[in-house]
């Protein structure tokens, strides 16, 4: 017989099984016919207090590689900066830009060496290399998955709901960006750990481009217009 999940600090616990909702964030990325969309929220919460609403959760590793931040902000920023140093060294030694697969493997191997030491990182490494678009999920327990669509963080389940029902491979750039924006909006609506604003990036063969910062409160009234009094 299993125990009913009881609330514990940062999540739920049932016997030995612990579900941790500590990664107060929503980050998502997906490939489509013309590129890759990366869409993240910007809230940093310390318990019930919103410590910041203007966090940059997309880390620019180099002009062709992006990394997203979920989990410990310091851990993500620091280790992705180490990753950019390693990517630059690779380029100097090999006279060729590093592939997304190799960059994500470098990070995954570093994180595996620190496994059990309490690092908290759930990141997506996104980029474009000679094999085409690359999207990898890498986390602190050493997992590394390649895929077409990922969402990470406490709001990820809500983002998946919108992404899974509306995603198509054949989309225009505008449709894909709107899907990214919409998925983050819905996650910020339902998840208390996510919110404030949405940062959108688009990755193409010539590198990433920052599309814009959208306040989710404004998005709410855009998607749910109030009739004029």
């Amino acid at each position: 017989p299993t125990e009913l999940p009881q609330p514990v600090k940062h999540g739920l616990q049932s016997g030995n099984l612990r579900i941790n909702f500590n990664h107060g964030t929503t980050c998502l990325a997906f490939k489509y016919s013309n590129g890759i969309v990366v869409s993240v929220d910007s809230r940093a919460s310390a318990g019930a207090y919103i410590a910041s609403g203007t966090v940059k959760k997309v880390i620019e590793i180099n002009p062709f590689l992006l990394g997203t931040m979920a989990g410990g902000a310091a851990d993500c920023q620091f280790w992705q900066r180490v990753l950019s140093q390693e990517c630059w060294l690779y380029e100097l030694r090999n006279k060729e830009r590093i592939s997304v697969a190799a960059a994500s493997k470098l990070l995954a191997n570093i994180l595996y060496n620190y496994k059990g030491y309490g690092l908290s990182i759930g990141t997506m490494i996104v980029g474009w290399d000679k094999k085409g678009p690359g999207l990898y999920y890498v986390d602190d327990d050493g997992t590394r998955h390649s895929g077409n669509l990922f969402a990470v963080g406490s709001g990820s389940t809500y983002a998946y709901g919108v992404l899974d029902t509306c995603y198509r491979w054949d989309m225009t750039d505008d449709e894909a960006l709107e899907l990214g924006r919409r998925a983050i909006y819905h996650a910020t609506y339902r998840d208390i750990g996510s919110g404030n604003s949405n940062n959108l990036y688009l990755v193409k063969p010539d590198g990433w481009k920052f599309i814009g910062n959208y306040d989710t409160a404004n998005l709410h009234y855009q998607y749910n217009p109030v009739a004029a009094e």
């Binding site: 050493g142 997992t143 895929g147």
Partner: protein, 202 residues
Amino acid sequence: MECLIGIQFNDYVLLAADCNGGRSIISMKDDVDKMFRLSERLAIIVSGESGDTNKFAEFIEQNVQLYKIRHGYELSPYAAANFTRRNQAQSLRSRSPYFVNMLLAGYDANKGQPELYYLDYLGSLMKLPFSVIGYGGYMSLSVLDRHYRPDMAEADGIRLLRTVISEIQKRLVISLSKFRVHRVDRNGVTQLDDIESKLVTP
């Protein structure tokens, strides 16, 4: 949560592993291949702690390849299984043990027969006719005990595997909708059609 199935027949071994990859209650990927090719006629399927599984499997894969480069011939399945078991036994009482369970399937060209080995994170090693790792075993080992015969041809073997998987899908509370299947025989390691149940579409 993960389920690994291995069944050894007279001429071939079938290996099936579920395709789920995720974190706690979320399934992030539904087409994970948990099979690692150690050499032309040797394959393993792994489950356990995420991160450890990949690392340990790649470590064994690289060492098997190194043996071939150094000595000019390949490790037999029996030797490879014992090498892997020794590594797990040594890791068990080390500072940070690997938590990996696996099924190793190989075709021994000298003996002319296929072999299946069960290896777990405690350093156990058993040569078995069939084995299931994970909660799925509670549902399916009796099906195998009842219906398994070593002389089944491939079509019957696949049908037995499908019966096993359908019982797991029926009785296990966790959804394991897709299994990736490989066959190991004298011709090497071949991927067969995935066994999956159709999900509800909107």
